[in-house]
């Protein structure tokens, strides 16, 4: 086998590789064309001219590099990133001077290579990628001798326990990664819950003001958040920080819409989840978790800008288009004694993207 491989690379192999129907090449190789001299080789004027051109490019490159330094100290940076043609004067001039300098060096060197360096093509013979057969044989012999002297093959107990020992060493390597999410941070059960709880007010995102049911007009869409994201002394919610704040914010985002109550197709078991046509859903797309945002009030469709999953908010947020598979989870709401919208409970299913054990957690 290995012998065949080797001989395949010889010229004879190329001729003899193919069975009888192969014949001589239709046209014989005329060989390399003779080398022709360039103007710069035979005309001293052309040679001098090329020399001057190359040097001129190098000199211009130096000038451009000096201009870079001048620009660096002349132009202020700061909040003037669009002073010149939509670009900051500093960035623009630094980029242009640096670019011109580099380009001139590059073009100069290539011009030098093309005009003034020897341009006769050289021929080098190739060698097979494979080593000569005697080298292969010697290597295989050395390998066998080494394995033989090690005696691993004759002592399966030693061999197998050694493989086992090194294999089991994989466990520490894997286990060491466990604390990438230390302790209870790996509790994936948290995906099933958000910060929403019975009686928590729905507030406007960014500003955090509670929402009066009577304020919302038919056709309105409000981006909302749980009141717990805006803790005050008055509402008594604990201050959230860092990672916890971010993840609760990422899960708790909602959209609140009001439509004609007659437009709503009542979903089984959710008859009491709305307030006079006001209906609230998770803002997090069930596809891969982008916040959905584009609302079309006449059709009650809301579209996720990432992958265009479209949900019909009048029909329990059923997916009407795009790759998502599940409706947006609905937040059951009611009004409190002051007329503000509050949650009846947490979401009744995990929000956002699907995952393996989702149904088990719902």
């Amino acid at each position: 086998m290995s012998n065949d491989n080797l001989s395949d690379n010889t010229p004879a192999a190329y001729e003899s590789h193919v069975p009888a129907h192969r014949e001589a090449e239709p046209i014989a190789d005329p060989g390399l064309p003779p080398h022709t001299w360039r103007p710069t080789d035979v005309d001293p004027k052309a040679e001098k001219r090329a020399e001057r051109q190359v040097a001129a490019m190098f000199i211009a490159a130096m000038i451009s590099a000096v201009l870079f330094v001048v620009a660096y100290f002349s132009f202020e940076v700061g909040d003037n990133w669009d002073t010149f043609a939509g670009l900051g004067a500093s960035t623009l001039t630094l980029g242009v001077t640096l670019g011109v300098s580099l380009l001139l060096i590059g073009i100069g060197i290539i011009h030098l290579a093309r005009k003034l360096m020897a341009d006769a093509e050289m021929v080098e013979m190739r060698h097979p990628a494979a080593s000569p057969q005697e080298d292969r044989d010697a290597t295989v012999a050395a390998l066998n001798a080494g394995l033989d002297e090690a005696g691993i093959g004759r002592r399966p107990l030693v061999r197998n326990t050694m493989i086992g020992a090194v294999g089991v060493l994989g466990l520490p390597a894997v286990v060491l990664l466990r604390d990438l999410a230390p302790g209870s941070a790996l509790d994936v059960g948290r995906l099933a819950h958000t910060i929403w709880e019975p009686g928590m007010r729905l507030v406007r995102d960014v500003v955090g003001t509670p929402i009066l049911a009577s304020e919302i007009e038919i056709g309105d869409l409000i981006n909302g958040a749980p009141e717990a994201m805006f803790p005050t002394e008055e509402n008594g919610y604990p201050e959230l920080e860092g990672a916890e704040e971010q993840s609760e914010k990422a899960k708790g985002a909602i959209i609140i819409v009001r439509m004609d109550p007659d437009d709503i197709i009542p979903a089984k078991g959710r008859e009491k989840w709305t307030v006079d046509g006001i209906i609230c859903y998770s803002k997090i797309c069930t596809h891969v978790g982008c916040p959905i945002s584009l609302y079309e009030r006449t059709t009650h469709h809301v579209l996720c800008p990432c992958h265009q999953s479209t949900f019909d908010l009048a029909d329990a947020a059923k997916v009407v288009f795009g790759p998502a598979a599940r409706p947006l989870p609905q937040l059951p709401i009611k009004v409190d004694e002051e007329g503000y919208l509050v949650a009846q409970s947490d979401f009744t299913e995990p929000i956002g993207a699907s995952y393996w054990q989702r149904e088990k957690q719902s």
Binding site: P26, E47, M117
Partner: protein, 588 residues
Amino acid sequence: MSTDSRLDTSKIATTNGTSAATTSKPGAAGSLATWADDRLGLAAAMKKNLRKVFPDHWSFMLGEIALWSFVVLLLTGVFLTLWFNPSMGHVTYEGSYDQLRGVGMSESMSSTLHISFDVRGGLLMRQMHHWAAMIFVASMMVHLLRVAFTGAYRKPRELNWVIGCVLLLLGTLEGFTGYSLPDDLLSGTGVRAADGFLKATPVAGAYMSFLLFGGEFPGESIIPRLYIIHVLLIPGILLALIAAHMLLLVYHKHTQWPGPGRTEQNVVGYPMLPVYAAKAGGFFFMVFGVIALMGGLLSINPVWKFGPYDPTKVTAGSQPDWYMGWPDGLLRIMPTGWESVIFGYTISWNVMLPILIVPPLMLVVLMLLPFLEGWITGDKRDHHLLQRPRNAPTRTAVMVALMTFYGLAWAAGGNDIIAIKLHASINQITYFMRVAIFLGPILAFWITRRWCISLQRHDNDKLLHGYETGIITRSPDGAYAERHLPISESAAYTLTARDRDEVFHAGGDTDAAGVAAPNSRSERVRARLSSWMYSNNVQKPTRAELEAAHHHAEHEAELTSGLDHPVDGHQFDDHRLRDTDEVPLRDH
């Protein structure tokens, strides 16, 4: 090694001096080389490699663009690390950019703004880094196409092809981890989608997400973790693989196009020192210069316009960097509701198929291409001469089909942008793409293969009947015919410098002794594939066919020789048969 290492340099660079070089006194370079060789012993290797021959062709420069843009990435990247702070710690921005002053954001976003607005040259370096990354991935892809279309991946270069595919994958991941670092609204949206992809992994998905993010999304760990992956882990592997890629290139010697004097056994071109080194080195400066100009003149990833990441916000028209576009497009055209629940466990086909299954599958298919082709042809020879794409019609068509798949998936990733620009319905575009992604590659395959085969016929016509001059002659009996003139010998040789394809035929199911042949089923598959790949190809003419055709052409020429004078007004048209030393035949 070199057959004409003693070049006729009599007329070259006379300005360097007119006396011949002598060995009597080693120059400065000589003494330095001696000093180094006493310690490193590199002379044995250098003696071969300093004058190593590299063939020249514009398409060999594509991989060089990738190499040099990687160097630019290292240089600009190091600059950025001097100020960038990969932390998700919350700060209030107090820098120069007015519109975000007083806004809360992560330290990584804040330091990105600092680099952009308060470090001179910082924005330039950021933009150069981003442009260089785009060029890096793009040039790797175009280089890959060049290698595939010319058959350069055949033995002995299959492993270098696999290394190249891994480099493309790593370059893509490097790009993703890089553009996620500023923690702006656009990149944060991408990271959240990536979190969704992880969660779609069966069994361990949710745990993988929690481990990567250090808890629940988004946590405070993801940016520092992506950072170390971006600046150490992936670049380290990239460097090692690029070194291996280059070493194998040097060991195999570069492929070359066939032509007079250029055979499977030699390599014809310029020596590394000085011409190739000068050209490649000069080209580095040019790539660097173009990237610098782009960084100065073309705005890219203006994170200050997106604002800091907020998990409750998103911008319409969110697009990843271009090389991430095609899996995103596949994601977008998945039909509604492809999710199943089996024994209470959720399997999200709508995410798994376009992200976790098809892209890795495409990569595996790509890596296997040279091995599949080698198995079908059974060709064990080394190949150093490139093939024109037309001379491997099926391979070319397969590549074009893959490109079409890629292009359509990529376009689907911009379906929202297309809808806005063309005032079209995004739903209709998506429905169209769902069908086109299957039909497009098939159509592209068929058209490309027929196209290649007719180009092969055209080549044979040129060989047998000459090239079309465009001169119409009228014979005395009134018939019109176009004059054909023979192509030059070197052009004719180049056209015929290719192997004849052989269709593999499986032997019988049983051997002579009546024993079932081993692998007979796989042999039959191989025979069918071989027939599918090669039986429609046009083979080059035989010597006899060529001679017969030339004999015929001479006869024709004799018949029409009396007519060989142009009509009034066309006396100076450049179409007369010329075959003198001063005016060689037209090189068609």
